[in-house]
Symmetry: C2
Subunit: 242 residues, 2 copies
């Protein structure tokens, strides 16, 4: 029986989604909870993709195969009973074996959360504090360059292991709510650190200290060294075209 | 030299503002930082009032007497260098000896933050998750009863040591931003747990399960037992009539 689950987590205390030899991963937490719930020795959870240490999720998706079927309500409630409070299962459903949380992804949306006000400690590890943030119009104009199919080599950190650095960005825009500014970006896939590099470079470009089109055309990471910290990044939504 | 400082803190890991025999208080953290900055053996910080364990502040005010004068920029920067990240000094100024952070208070505003959406772990310890929250109109109608000068004995927990339970509420209203609902209440002073009891009873009243006017008139805490959890409460602003 294959289950698809939607997860929300506070990534602050985790080494990321992916299981690591030395570190507490969200994947480990989910697998432990599933093993307890289904009285199984080993259950492997497959996520839609990795999230780095400190990165949060509002709508991560994973699948796992369980040795038996349980009512959906019990799957959600049971997993949440065994998971730490920093991870919550928001939803679950039974899916066929053709569904793969990683391979079946059509689109993903990330949100990057910026805060332009004074440093309020309740927002620590949840936003990137940036003072004198450029206007929404200037930020939108800067990220306009990344929409469409491009080689995003400039915006890719080493170590991701991607076969190609070509990706299609369907949407990239900023929204402002008081002192909060959220950057939403939807694509068919993301390279290692891509959203964090784009966010930092978009702010720099909106300030007139860089040019997103030139950076994109350069296909050279050394021209775009700054990246936004992990704590402001949220995996917002995974779309399977359903 | 007397300094007035404005503080923001994440109350999650603290036993509250007030120094306690066993526990880490915000007051202790501020006093330790001030001692280091001014190379003093003992400095006592006086807050505008206590905040309980788990309660946050966006604008707590305190004063302390320092053995010497430093430029304001160095007071703010120096204290922040010695304070943990969970406490930030937002502002500081020199004041005369007539100013007392507790006794000079004219009005205080608290905010209580409710979240009506699914439980997102990044909001843990920062909001009270309440599903099926009544409309802003119903909530405003419920708290309308507390505006003005009243005996708030119904909305006072035992142990506060107040001489009288009469207080004047200048304003009480709700604001909704998406799934967030914030309750703002301004008064000349607050009784022990007053905001948390009013918040819980206002929601109950807005649902038709209680009547704020009757509760207020009863002057009897046993009729209003529920109180909202500490984690949703923020000391928002302290007003000295300047």
């Amino acid at each position: 029986m294959r289950y698809k689950i939607t997860l929300s987590y506070d990534g602050t205390e985790f080494c990321g989604w992916q299981s690591q030899p030395c570190g507490t991963s969200v994947q480990d937490a989910v697998e432990r909870a599933a093993c307890k719930l289904f009285c199984a020795e080993k259950i492997k959870a497959v996520g839609s993709g990795r999230t780095d240490a400190g990165v949060h999720a509002l709508g991560q998706v994973a699948h796992f195969d369980a040795p038996k079927s349980l009512p959906i309500k019990n799957v959600v409630g049971g997993l949440n009973a065994y998971l730490p409070q920093s991870v919550r299962v928001l939803d679950a459903c039974e899916v066929g074996e053709a569904f793969d949380a990683r391979k079946s992804v059509k689109k993903k949306t990330y949100m990057y959360l910026l805060y332009g006000g004074v440093q309020q400690p309740v927002l620590n590890n949840r936003v990137w504090f940036v003072s004198d943030l450029p206007s929404k119009e200037k930020l939108d104009a800067a990220v306009d360059a990344v929409a469409g199919e491009h080689d995003f080599a400039t915006f890719m950190a080493a170590g991701g292991g991607a076969k190609t650095s070509v990706r299609t960005v369907y949407d990239a825009h900023f929204e402002r709510h008081g002192e909060f500014t959220a950057f939403y970006i939807t694509a068919n896939g993301f390279l290692y650190n891509m959203v964090r590099i784009i966010t930092a470079q978009a702010i720099k470009s909106a300030r007139g200290d860089a040019d997103m089109r030139e950076l994109l055309a350069a296909r050279d990471r050394s021209q775009a060294k700054e990246l936004a910290p992990a704590c402001g990044l949220y995996l917002y939504k995974v779309d399977y075209g359903e």
